[in-house]
Symmetry: C2
Subunit: 202 residues, 2 copies
Amino acid sequence: MRVLGIDPGLTRCGVGVVDVEPNRTARLVDVVVLRSPAELDTPRRLARIADGLEAIFEEHRPHAVALERVFARSDVSTIMGTAQISGVAMLIAARRSLPVALHTPSEVKAAITGYGRADKAQVGAMVARILGLDAVPKPADAADALALAICHAWRTGGVAGAAVADAKAPLPEGTVLTPAQRAWHAAERSAAVSGAARRLKE
Amino acid sequence: MRVLGIDPGLTRCGVGVVDVEPNRTARLVDVVVLRSPAELDTPRRLARIADGLEAIFEEHRPHAVALERVFARSDVSTIMGTAQISGVAMLIAARRSLPVALHTPSEVKAAITGYGRADKAQVGAMVARILGLDAVPKPADAADALALAICHAWRTGGVAGAAVADAKAPLPEGTVLTPAQRAWHAAERSAAVSGAARRLKE
């Protein structure tokens, strides 16, 4: 399953493409940070990012798209640009009949590091380990986009267009894991347990 | 000058097209409210609205686009959809190399009724008078889109792509106005005066 993850932004838009096998092995296909100059007006900035996104969709032909779910933040000007880019990215995906899934930052952090409040450095380090990279992808938007793509594949069980399934179930017997994947899986299972415990208390 | 006004929304997106002469006479070209069913996911809803917008751009070939400037509101889910549609509308305009201007609701109300806090009924009634219509365009999204388009033409002095000029200057000698335009112009000038008085106090 090839997933394209997008960390939306008007100044920097992270785009990561990964191939994920049913056994959860993930391989880096491409990662890029699209930028638009602040001197341009917003419509031209959106078109600049849209052109870049379309080129990446065209080149890598993903099966699914994962986008960060945007919430209200203190800085209204930032959230508007982020929401506008999200809209443009969703339109591009819809016109290619691709499924689009939204994941919150804490869902991504929990899937990747096992801890929903992990910091950027922890997410970046785990992304590098999962993909077998020598260095953490920079800037953070690049690592975040890859994390989104991996999170999506893992949460859906590697089935494009699937509803987010129970990614916290035990792995099938005989699954061979890399050390990074073992670390992730142990972390995710403990997060699931503490999540279940939390739900019981509520 | 032909202006396309957009009152952005995911459930209802008002689109109004007007021709405005240098003497401020405005004529209705088309008005439509695009809708997308709530059962669809957001990407498909955005694509549905985008298809409708592109058909209207194609049919009426506007010289400029006026969009409502979106601010943070209490309902985050609404503002996200509105911002996403705005992004899609801006992208469509930018890809046609059309100038896009944003106007706040109070700027539109002030331009159309002379009063920045006018209610929907007052804006609708003035839009009908300005365009010489027998009835107020319904729903409110339709009237709002037309008000945006008229506001934009008037504020830019009818020059596509112009920066928002001083729309509050007196009209040239010999300009012939309809009663509605006279009413508007008197109201706008009094709003300008009170605006200037307010600025002096600040």
